[in-house]
């Protein structure tokens, strides 16, 4: 798959039926996840887990005019163009495919959790039983076989679409024009200045309100600390480590030689 793909969640169309969550579990063979006790809430799980890669968040909100809104948003890996998880992985276990899907190689993963720490969206979850990091893989195996991701396939409201990044951008812009009639703040998240800090994302949203309303970071950034660690701390540490050992060995020999001369 040489083409760069993208997924679009149109928040204005989503009815929060959660069929996408079920489809995701089916395709990835994930077990039921009882991590969140039922206490009368609408949202099924408090957050993403190592068994739940895709979650519909539900939030009740009253705007400044006293108008009630019920916000739904599908959260999962954002498949950044400049993925902080990939850069931060000490094992080189994470890669970005040509399709734009960011995937974890479980063979290489050691479960250190650096991907989670570095992710500006706080997405990857280390499975405590297998000690492997987990997250949405954009159904890269389906994409490579000419299919679309299972969540997009199952969505009945056409709230989740999947196609080339150009197609999705065009569709999103069209949808935003429509949504803007009712929601003047409507915006496209995933392409443009808002997500520039991560190079843009292959998971895009049509948002009726600004990103923070849905819990999305306004300015996600691939942290500069990764470069400091990978390009400076680790190489210098290696040189310093060898240097210190050699220095001490040299000092020992030198002190014996000079000591002898003195005595």
């Amino acid at each position: 798959m040489a083409k760069e793909m993208a997924m679009l969640h149109d928040v204005a169309r989503c009815s929060a039926c959660r069929a996408c969550m079920v489809a995701c579990k089916q395709w990835h063979n994930l077990p039921a996840d009882f991590s969140t006790p039922f206490e009368g809430q609408y949202q099924s799980h408090a957050d993403l887990t190592s068994k739940t890669y895709n979650l519909i968040k539900m939030n009740e909100r009253t705007d400044k005019d006293g108008k009630f809104h019920w916000d739904f948003i599908k959260i999962q890996c954002m498949h950044c163009q400049d993925p902080a998880c990939m850069k931060g992985c000490p094992e080189g276990a994470i890669s970005r495919l040509d399709s734009g899907a960011v995937v974890i190689d479980e063979e290489k993963c050691v479960g250190c959790g650096y991907c989670t720490t570095n992710c500006p969206f706080n997405v990857p979850r280390v499975d405590p039983d297998r000690n492997k990091s987990t997250k949405c893989d954009l159904c890269f195996d389906r994409i490579e076989n000419g299919m679309i991701p299972s969540c997009a396939k199952t969505c009945t409201a056409q709230a989740i679409d999947f196609g080339t990044i150009e197609e999705m951008t065009a569709l999103a812009n069209k949808r935003i024009e429509e949504v803007k009639k009712d929601f003047p703040n409507a915006n496209l998240y995933g392409i443009g200045p808002a997500t520039e800090g991560v190079g843009g994302t292959h998971m895009m949203y049509v948002l009726p309100e600004k990103p923070s309303v849905y819990g999305l970071p306004e300015n996600p950034k691939t942290p500069a600390s990764i470069d400091l660690w990978k390009d400076v701390v680790r190489p210098i540490g290696k040189i310093a480590g060898v240097g210190a050992a050699a220095g001490i060995a040299g000092l020992f020999v030198l002190s014996k030689m000079m000591g002898k001369k003195n005595h």
Binding site: D47, C112, N118, S225, K238, G241, S255
Partner: protein, 228 residues
Amino acid sequence: MLVDKKFVPRHKAGFVLCHWLNGISFLMLFITALPLYDPNYFGFLYNALGTSTLQNAHKFFAVIFIVTPIIGLFIARDGYSMLIGQVLKFNKDDMTFLVKFPGELLGQDPKMPKQGFYNGGEKMNIALQMALWCVLVCSGLVLWLGSGIIDNSVRAWMIPVHSIAAGIGFAAALGHIYLAVGVNPDSLQGMKNGTIKADYAMHHHGAWVDELVAEGKVTKKELEEAVH
């Protein structure tokens, strides 16, 4: 009074224990983290012991590393107040010591001013270790327990901070071990039973021995007999 007519009592048992706990936990923390630092050279540790084993061991030794000085407040209060008190009393003689120290390091025997319980170099090491303990513990806890509480834009910075502090700490540990094992092997006895040879004490911590004599804890006669 000298121990066995030859040794000056220096550290109490609780303090000796804390030094072992601190040293072993630091080295184990360093070793269990190595494969994360460079999987090419140290990945064999993951293969041999398993990733979870190493990561859980890192957390286990982290707890020991964190609680050691806290336990020390109960079982080695004197030793720890001495550490802090001495660091705060960095004086002119300590500076002179540091200036002349490279000579001693190269196997010569420069005329040093009399040193107290800790010499200038030891005081610097203590101050550095205290600072590194704070940095390692804070950054480590943020990485370990901070998920969902502290924003990732802050947590991500803890990775290089933790790494750098560990690297500096390891370099200091190498120097510390070298000076003990390679340069002053007589000092090692302090790690075993808390005593050091009388002539070592007089040579390296003269001002402290003078204090002991002044306080009547050790007599001049005893010392002379021990040395000869």
